[in-house]
Amino acid sequence: MKPVNTIKLELESRSVNESFARATVAAFAAQLDPNVEEISDIKTAVSEAVTNCIVHAYPDCVGKIYIYAAIYENGKFKVKIKDKGKGIEDVEKAMEPLYTTLGGERAGLGFAVMESFCDKIKVKSKPGKGTTVTLEKIFSGRSATDDRS
């Protein structure tokens, strides 16, 4: 299915950009007329994915984070968060709640939060190459079928 609208963002993996990333994706998702809860869901999930890029993908350097978001006709919203960082050795293990390689203040809940706030999550990763997280959510509001030229 072809999206009715898309955006592409490229940002540096600086923690100060976390709020910019989630706010921007949420502002784009607003075209689907989501309710407050749905917007918070997207914001939270994007915040987790972007934080992962910053703390895990590029732990010792500033790299690029690529965000691609798409709106589909049936109210479906898709966000892809991609990095070219160090990748994940064991994706299944990384997605286990409370599992973290960092300890300290990281709760190990990033993926668990993304899973609970989205309808679908896909994680593709290659050590040394990078990681792509795809989040999907169906919004209950009006569908994006009206004219948006």
Binding site: S15, S19, S40, S47, T51, E105, A107, L109, V113
Partner: protein, 103 residues
């Protein structure tokens, strides 16, 4: 994002407001820990009433403060949680460590 700390002999209250993410949790942490470690209060209350956004960094924040409070012999109470934040903290199993109270 801001933090406001008030104390009585029995209780230290840490009131948070705004958005809590990985970026700004670091600054919150420093200030909160200073206060907890120099306080003699046996109850640490973290007030989330004015928090407008939180990701899992907020859970890390509570966990970290719980560990420090515990080592100082104090208990932790998290208050004024929205339904959403309460659900997230329960997802993390925080209710086994601290008292969670909704708005």
């Amino acid at each position: 994002m801001s933090i406001n700390i008030t104390s009585t002999p029995m209780r230290l209250t840490i009131a948070l407001s705004g958005e809590i993410d990985h970026h700004n949790a670091a600054a919150l942490r420093l200030e909160a820990d200073d206060a907890i470690q120099s306080s003699l209060a046996s109850n640490i209350r973290i007030d989330f009433g004015d928090v407008t956004f939180m990701d899992s960094s907020g859970i890390g924040f509570v966990l970290g403060r719980y560990r420090i409070a515990e080592s100082c012999g104090a208990n932790v109470e998290v208050i004024n949680l929205s339904g959403r934040l309460y659900t997230m903290m329960k997802l993390a199993g925080l209710e086994k460590l601290v008292t969670l109270k909704t708005k």
